[in-house]
Subunit: 259 residues, 2 copies
């Protein structure tokens, strides 16, 4: 039997709120090991860019990462956010080790090819180094990944944290029974966007297609759910979507996705 592994992704909004972050890290520290945390960077990068007199460039909700912006996201994601989280986890006796995809050659990516839009130094993942990650887990470390990868030729790349989480979960799925947790601002996938209590408990792929057809699942959720079903189709045991409290909650208080 495979041993269990939790891969938990938190968004920038959790990181920006000190109390919410502390609350989450408390829960995460208490989760059974092995476990992996993946975090986004959030608005802090945009704030720092602005403070430095650089205009943040976005396209369809995604950052255009020119050379200046890459420096700033490397600072904010890999430095400020990652080290702050690691220090707070260590204070909870959780033996965290902060990583970008360059560290331990953990995640290789390539610069997204220029089609209609040039996303700059944005990375699309090629391969997750599951051996290196398993090595760290076996040593009792709790890897904490920021949203940076590298191309193996010395270039860091800004990479979507949702994708990093699902690709890690997929890669580790070969040797672990992996559950992927997406923490976000809602309590789960809602059947009524205006009612926070309308959490859909479980969704399988057939339901998903129906909900999508009926327009119940909103535009913003579509890429997130596509990502989740992609992971389920590739070795991930279970995907859970909900508020940060879900990692300590009974099923039903968040949305569980299965094939």
């Amino acid at each position: 039997m495979k041993s269990k592994l939790a891969v938990v992704k938190i968004g920038g909004n959790v990181i920006e709120n000190k109390e919410e972050l502390s609350g989450f890290l408390n829960l995460f520290a208490q989760m059974e090991s092995p476990k992996i945390l993946v975090h986004g960077g959030g608005k802090k990068a945009t704030q720092i860019l602005k403070k430095m007199g650089i205009t943040p460039k976005m396209e369809g909700g995604r950052r255009i990462t020119d050379a200046e912006s890459l420096e700033v996201v490397t600072m904010v994601y890999g430095g400020l956010a990652n080290k702050t989280i690691v220090a707070k986890l260590q204070a909870q006796a959780c033996n965290a080790i902060g990583l970008s995809g360059a560290d331990a050659d953990a995640i290789r990516a390539h610069k997204r090819p220029v089609k209609e839009i040039d996303y700059g130094f944005a990375g699309d993942i090629d391969i997750v180094n599951t051996e290196a990650i398993a090595n760290l887990l076996h040593s009792g470390f709790v890897p904490v990944f920021c949203a940076l990868t590298h191309n193996g030729k010395g270039q860091l790349l800004n990479t979507n944290a949702d994708t990093i989480a699902s690709e890690i979960a997929i890669g580790m799925g070969h040797s672990y029974e992996t559950t992927l947790y997406y923490c976000f601002e809602k309590r789960g996938v809602l059947s009524d966007m205006t009612d926070d209590n309308s959490v859909i408990e479980t969704i399988d792929y057939k339901n998903y297609m129906e909900l999508r057809e009926k327009g119940i699942i909103s535009q913003g959720m579509l890429p997130k759910l596509e990502n989740c079903f992609h992971a389920l189709q590739k070795n991930v045991h279970k995907v859970c979507i909900g508020a940060i409290s879900m990692i300590d909650s009974e099923p039903g208080l968040y949305t569980t996705l299965t094939l």
Copy 2:
């Protein structure tokens, strides 16, 4: 017999010069393992502080790290400098893993007590987690440390990179025959400050006291050399001081310190 371990420290001036950094990392990647790199942050933190409209505060060559400055050094040391170096080493097939003292609980420190000067979030080292570092070395990783530690209670602390290097070398000295390399802008300790070729090949403690007495060793070098002899007195096998090229050079082209 103990196996050999190299602990190499580079300063901010090397990091700021792209070509010099590449040259150094090339040499470092070729060095025999196990090895550890420790880097300062240099002027980039000061540049970013200024860009963000924050006035850098210094006192006797040391940074006064208030809360705002700590955010910036965490970004620059732990993010930009550390991840840039790690990505470049990975490109040379050197399996680098970037660490602050918080990662893997590698280096604990306490906030420097306020006496005449309040250095803010500056850390004085309490203990190096030699077991965690040995664990990473055994796994084939090359630890790359930035100049940040933590207090074990969630607080990151800005810590002198020279001291980090010597404390790591001292801690690892119990199980390794450790050589500590301090790379800086000169080719070694000079008998004539105006002549770059006047490198003193070897200095033992008796020589050191004499050179100091005669005023041949200049003020800036004193704390550096004190640090070196402190390391030698505590289990470090050898300390070398010189330009980055020394890690690939014959003895005599840099200064070697022994007891």
